[in-house]
């Protein structure tokens, strides 16, 4: 129940500015998550639903003898549900000894950025802490960086 360990954000990167980011998509929008807390990426499937007041908590999935709690990012970020039958991937993160799997559409790549994220306007209709760290440039568009510790705080 403690706040997630601080190392989920700042540590692990070499020079102060440069960070490794895992990029993924939800619908057509590109998102990014710092690589530090990520354990692995697995395919979505065979979810066992568990009732929870937070609708974005989808259920659980066994992973090598441990149970991963699944968080549907589309639901968390108030986006339309995936079409039935479309595939999805799970980004498994570990904080304070528990595994949380973020359900995303497709993981695209790993990139390095040293840019300071530009703040994003607060999205209306979202409860809890703002889950975004800001946006950084990616290719010719902009990628939205997620703030995992904030997401976790929102779930406590």
């Amino acid at each position: 129940m403690d706040a997630p360990a601080p190392e989920t954000r700042e540590s692990g990167t070499g020079s102060p500015g440069a960070r490794c980011i895992l990029a993924f998509t939800l619908e057509t929008q590109e998102f990014g998550l710092p690589l530090d807390a990520i354990v692995e990426i697995i395919a979505h499937g065979h979810v066992t639903p568990v009732p929870h007041p937070e609708p974005a908590i989808e259920g659980i999935l066994p992973l090598r003898g441990r149970m991963v709690t699944l968080l549907n990012l589309r639901r968390l970020l108030d986006r339309p549900e995936r079409e039935a039958g479309s595939s999805a991937q799970i980004i498994v993160t570990e904080t304070s000894g528990d595994l949380l799997g973020l359900v995303v559409d497709t993981v695209t790549r790993v990139m390095t950025t040293s840019a300071i994220p530009e703040p994003l306007e607060r999205v209306a209709g979202l409860d809890g802490p703002d889950p975004f760290e800001g946006t950084v440039r990616s290719g010719d568009g902009r990628m939205i960086l997620l703030d995992l510790p904030a997401i976790l705080r929102g779930l406590e």
Binding site: T48, V50, H52, P55, R66, S96, L100
Partner: protein
């Protein structure tokens, strides 16, 4: 148990599961019997072999009883009686051995019938009768008396039947006998005691550990009753653990006096030392590592089995699969034996925790101005070390409560026509995969009216509302019932019972209470023998599978549609033992994702006692399986009714339910408990 008994038992899964599990027990019984034959023929002591068979018979009885095969349970019961006479020294002979063989044959045969679905009655009854007659002819053998042994009467009285017999046997072989007084530090009591016991075991045998009145300066005094071949000296133990040794009886010598027939050979002739089985002390975590690995391996094997099954179903003629399948099954069986072996290695007798409670009684009673004795039964019942450790606080709590609130002051007892000294009894026995512990006192019982008034004051019930006994028993476990502090308003119990119930739930166990005003109170605790592997029934409901720990299920009902009726928004089932409230899992566990509503609801698993007694409706019973319960992440850990999840090696995780909490949540009207 299901009203229909064993005749048309639940079709498919659960019957097959029962048969294969029961056959495994019978296989082990046969092995045990072979061993017994061997030692009997060799003329060597057969107590160990009898003990082994006894234990297996006992599990078979519990298991058959639990799953509703009364004929098998009753034969096992008769066999158990016979074996327990043998354990107490009844003379073993060829006729008895034959009878045990015949019992096993009959059991194998009836299992075959259960497997094929054919009705089988006849034979079991006859064998049961013969067992009963044979048991009657067995008298516990006379053993050498303890004449000439100057054992303080208090010590002799506190020995269990087993300890006393062991003492007589060893005296019969001319061992020395001594009381070794230990000085142990309260802080490190368990460690010191374990250390002292281990050291003593190297020199002789500890017959019993006897608590003494508390020593001065906070230390605790204990005495070990020890038999040994050589005289013992305090410096045989390290760190001044031993403060004194009192020789009770010299070697051999006068033990034979007045005991014809056991004159026994002189000590010198004993020559051969007893075959000492070596003991090894290792950290529990090492065993746990092995267990976790075995568990992971069995998940992998289950996945492999699933694959083979899928291929075989598609092509029953697949030659490779026909070769692989039996091999795989053999691996699975051995793996199970391996897991069981490791789990057994973690088992310890409940004795330790009973003694811990025992040490507390005299002081607590004195502090409360009561006079009371503690009696323990079944202290040799084995249970997983972790479960035993976790049982200590609730048992101490219940015992303190019994002394504080249950047992009356001596004068009041006398006025009520009771003995001045109250009795608190701790009694344990194994029932299938569970251990059942009763905490019994002969005090004033729980006063219904007092519970009602207290509940009213705390707004747990509407003012002026009448309550039934079952409702009262339920109320005393409610959080908030006892927050009034130390001053006990209730003339019975109620101090922190919600805490006790919560700790039992954590152990995947249950607690129930029965009380008669003026006569006493009994708390019954049921806990699984081990938490590493929890025996569970796998059920299907809403198109999904769930695992329900066997320990929290009281009955397993096949629903008869004509006995169902609706009342006040609930479904009620006309059960022979009274109306039973039914509960649908979809009401409690429905997620947002679309689930099949309704379902066939062919079975109900009954959980909860008294007012909480409730049947959980499920569509199908898929089988019985030992599951490794994995904790859920912190976001889901406190979901009511869910104890964790397990991986059965095929697609997805299976939720492990906590029926007590489900039933409690439904009864309290909200999903809290």
């Amino acid at each position: 148990m299901p009203d229909e008994g064993g005749s048309p038992p639940d079709r498919d899964g659960s019957r097959r599961e029962f048969v294969s599990e029961a056959e495994e027990i019978l296989e082990r019984l046969s092995d045990g019997l072979r061993e017994l034959e061997r030692v009997f023929a060799a003329g060597t002591p057969h107590l160990e072999a009898v003990n082994t068979i006894f234990r297996e018979t006992h599990s078979l009885k519990g298991f058959a009883g639990l799953l509703g095969f009364p004929d098998i349970a009753s034969l096992a019961h008769e066999l158990e009686d016979l074996l327990s006479r043998l354990r107490l020294g009844g003379a073993l002979d060829g006729t008895i051995l034959d009878l045990v063989h015949e019992s096993l044959d009959a059991l194998f045969e009836v299992l075959g019938c259960v497997r094929s679905g054919a009705p089988a009655r006849g034979d079991l009854g006859t064998v049961s009768d013969r067992l009963r007659r044979a048991t009657a002819t067995l008298v516990p053998s006379p053993v050498s008396s303890l004449d000439g042994v100057d054992l303080p009467p208090g010590v002799l009285a506190s020995l269990t039947e087993f300890e006393e017999r062991r003492l007589r046997e060893l005296r019969g072989r001319g061992r020395r006998l001594a009381l070794v007084r230990l000085r142990v530090d309260t802080q490190r009591l368990e460690d010191d005691l374990a250390e002292a016991t281990r050291r003593t075991g190297e020199m002789g045998e500890v017959i019993a550990t006897l608590p003494m009145a508390a020593g001065p300066d906070g230390g605790v005094a204990l005495e070990l009753l020890v038999t040994s071949e050589r005289p013992l000296r305090p410096d045989d133990w390290p760190r001044g653990l031993v403060s004194g040794i009192r020789e009770i009886a010299a070697p051999g010598g006068h033990v034979a006096a007045g005991t014809p027939g056991s004159g026994g050979p002189p000590v010198a002739a004993m020559g051969e030392p007893e075959a000492q089985s070596g003991t090894l002390r290792i950290p529990v975590s090492r065993l746990d590592d092995v267990l976790v690995r075995a568990g992971d391996l069995s998940i992998a094997v289950a996945a492999l089995e699933g694959g083979v099954r899928a291929i075989s179903e598609r092509d029953p003629e697949d030659r490779l699969m026909r070769v692989v399948d039996p091999l795989l099954r053999a691996i699975a069986t051995r793996l199970k034996a391996l897991q069981r072996g490791v789990i057994d290695a973690r088992l310890v007798p409940l004795e330790q925790v009973f003694r811990k409670v025992g040490r507390l009684v005299a002081r607590t009673a004195r502090a409360a101005g009561k006079e009371a004795d503690l009696h323990t039964l079944g202290a040799d019942t084995e249970i997983d070390k972790a479960v035993m450790d976790a049982l200590a606080p609730p048992l101490m709590h219940l015992t303190t409560n019994a002394l504080d609130h249950g047992i009356e002051p001596p004068e009041e007892r006398q006025r009520a026509g009771k003995a001045r000294r109250g009795r608190v009894v701790l009694s344990a026995c194994r029932r299938g995969p569970s251990v059942v512990i009763d905490v019994i006192d002969d005090g004033r019982g729980i006063a219904l009216e007092a519970v009602r008034a207290a509940a009213e004051t705390r707004a747990l019930i509407a003012p002026g509302k009448e309550i039934t006994r079952d409702e009262a028993w339920d109320l005393i476990f409610r959080p908030g019932f006892s927050t009034a502090g130390r001053v006990s308003v209730v003339s019975g119990r109620g101090v922190g019972l919600d805490v006790v119930r919560r700790s039992l739930r954590r152990l995947k166990g249950a607690i129930e209470v029965r009380s008669v005003e003026g006569q006493g109170t009994t708390f019954t605790l049921t806990v699984p023998i081990s938490l590493a592997l929890v025996p569970a029934i796998i059920v299907r409901s809403m198109g999904r599978r769930f695992a329900i720990p066997v320990g929290s299920i009281r009955e397993n009902l096949r629903l008869d549609g004509s006995r169902l009726r609706a009342a006040a928004g609930d479904e009620i089932y006309d059960h022979p033992a009274g109306p039973l409230r039914l509960l649908r899992l979809d009401r409690l566990l429905a997620g947002r994702s679309s689930v099949e509503p309704g379902g066939e609801g062919r079975y109900a698993l009954v959980a909860g006692g008294g007012a909480r007694r409730t049947g959980i409706i499920v569509d199908d019973l898929l089988g019985r399986q030992d599951v490794v319960v994995k904790p859920l992440g912190r976001w889901l850990r406190d979901r009511p009714g869910i104890a964790g999840a397990t991986d059965l090696g095929d697609a997805g995780a299976v939720l492990v339910l906590d029926p007590e909490a489900l039933v409690a949540g439904a009864n309290d009207g909200r999903a809290r408990s």
